[in-house]
């Protein structure tokens, strides 16, 4: 029984060690600014197309389904309100997080995993560089900056998708749609909508780095690391979303 638990407990311990070192390195020299910018380009700019596509269609689908439901009560004019709240609070951060996890956690794990199995990580250490500082911290910072930005883009493009569907299917006037979208949001929603992707970014980058850096066993090991990174990063996003949602719900109840 104890032997069965040993592996997962050790994995959790190693993950926290990696996280701790990555955060500590933010305040320690040297800072690899070029690597941070390169990763921001890869994680942020590179993910814009998939975020635009998923954001647009998720907003459109939501407006379509919500509008249909609201039609029974003659309330299609409030479609924008539902689209806005669901996108900003939940769907925007989670969908963006999962999409970026699929694209970047896997990319990070395979890149670092390849470096690990070809001894490039050892070479880096031998040549005077801390791999955590050179590889993990820049990815963590880049994801922490870019994921909230991508979420804002996703939210906005989702609202546009919702607007088009509301207009085409339910003839909701644009002025009414955008006014309900705007009015529905309170500061708690915006704070929630930006805190969530910020927290998810650590799962996306650090889980990718963790599985990449512990890859063993050649190309097969890299493949395994990549799959595990995507699976665990996605699960972590949903679990974190639940707890963050609960915390923000508690905060909003205190406020009322």
């Amino acid at each position: 029984m104890l032997d069965t638990l040993k592996g997962p407990i050790q994995a959790v311990q190693e993950f926290y060690e990696l996280t701790g070192r990555a955060i500590r390195n933010v305040f320690r020299k040297p800072h690899y600014v070029d690597d941070i910018l390169l990763q921001m380009e890869s994680i942020g700019v590179g993910s814009v197309p998939i975020v635009l596509l998923t954001g647009f269609f998720s907003g459109a689908v939501m407006a379509m389904q919500m509008g249909r439901g609201l039609q029974d009560y003659g309330q299609t004019g409030r479609t924008g309100q539902f689209v806005s709240i669901i996108l900003v609070r939940e769907l925007g951060p989670v969908l963006t997080g999962v999409m970026v996890a699929g694209r970047n956690s896997s990319g990070i794990a395979s890149e670092l995993g390849s470096m690990k199995v070809t001894e490039q990580i050892d070479a880096m250490r031998a040549l005077g560089t801390d791999p955590n500082q050179k590889l993990v911290t820049p990815r963590m910072i880049a994801a922490a900056v870019m994921l909230p930005c991508l979420t804002i883009i996703d939210d906005f493009i989702g609202m546009i998708g919702g607007w088009i569907m509301a207009q085409v299917l339910f003839s909701v006037p644009p002025r009414q749609y955008w006014s309900t979208v705007w009015r529905a949001l309170v500061w708690n929603d915006v704070a929630q909508g930006l805190t969530k992707p910020f927290v998810f970014s650590f799962a996306v980058s650090l889980i990718g780095c963790y599985y990449g850096l512990r890859a063993t066993g050649g190309t097969q090991g890299v493949g395994r690391a990549t799959t595990q990174a995507v699976v665990w990063a996605s699960i972590a996003i949903f679990v974190l979303d639940f707890f963050l949602g609960r915390i923000f719900l508690g905060i909003s109840q205190i406020g009322t």
Binding site: A123, M124, G128
Partner: protein, 275 residues
């Protein structure tokens, strides 16, 4: 009696294990003195690579002590090891060149990242160029490792290992997977580096001819070729490893005379070849 040369690398009862597997190195002890060349031979999985990685501090021993330049480096923090690692050059088995960097950037990497090495920016390019011309690959500066052949990658990795002029060099299977001609070129470079810069080296190999070349040839700077020297002309010591233990340590004559069936498998004797 002359003073023995300074110790550059010393293992004292070093044990390395990756639980739950049996120890990879088992109470290993040896002492590498300045000017020596150690040829480490052994079957696959006998712990040869682990010796080099433990010497470099990339793997920490479970028991025993590792001394580098008479300093105990056992269980030191990674950051504390960077200073002493700058005195060692290492050639990894698969070259371990950084894929995302050009050849020139790879060779310049230790100059830029090792804190103990301070080199003015304007001299950096000259140092990189000199190091690449040492391995006769000056023309590949702007290429990426993926554009080079296996032998060329190995030579670039040698250029990266020697660019800082380290006094101690560790070569992990420098000829593995190479054709005999390229393998000879690589070994000639190792001998050239040793004799041109008076470096101490550990060479892991499973080819006896590699050890033979290191032990019996010397680089002639005038002709640029390798000249044969008499037996014992170079300070070469052979080590044979079996299942993490050192089963032989001695010079070439002693190695060839060794009657141990495992050790003798690594020695290519003319009479055996003829048979």
């Amino acid at each position: 009696m002359p003073e023995p040369a300074a110790s550059l690398l010393r293992f004292e009862d070093v044990t390395v294990s990756f639980a739950p597997d049996p120890p990879v190195l088992n109470q290993l002890s040896f002492n590498v003195r300045k000017g020596e060349t150690r040829v480490i031979m052994g079957a696959a999985g006998s712990g040869k690579t682990v010796v080099l990685k433990t010497a470099m501090g990339l793997i920490q021993p479970a028991a025993g002590h590792v001394f580098l330049f008479d300093e105990d480096v056992t269980n030191k923090a990674e950051v504390e090891l960077f200073g002493i690692r700058s005195k060692i050059g290492m050639l990894f088995q698969e070259s371990a060149l950084f894929d995302s960097m050009t050849v020139a950037q790879n060779v310049a990497y230790p100059l830029l990242n090792q804190k103990a090495i301070v080199i003015p920016r304007d001299q950096m390019e000259t140092a990189v160029r000199n190091s690449l011309s040492f391995v006769e690959l000056e023309h590949t500066m702007d290429k990426y490792p993926s554009e080079l052949s296996g032998g060329m990658r190995r030579r670039v990795a040698i250029a990266r290992a020697v660019v800082t002029n380290p006094p101690l060099l560790l070569y992990d299977s420098p000829t593995a997977g190479l054709d005999p001609i390229t393998a000879h070129t690589i070994m000639a470079l190792i001998v050239k580096e040793r004799d041109a810069n008076n470096t101490t080296a550990l060479v892991v190999t499973h080819r006896y001819q590699d050890g033979n070349l290191v032990a019996n040839f010397r680089y002639n700077p005038n002709s640029g070729r390798l000249d044969p020297v008499g037996t014992g002309g170079t300070k070469t010591i052979f080590m044979v490893m079996k299942e993490g233990r050192l089963v032989f340590e001695g010079n070439q004559t002693e190695l060839e005379a060794c009657s141990d069936s495992y050790v003798s498998k690594f020695v290519k004797r003319p009479e055996l070849e003829a048979a």
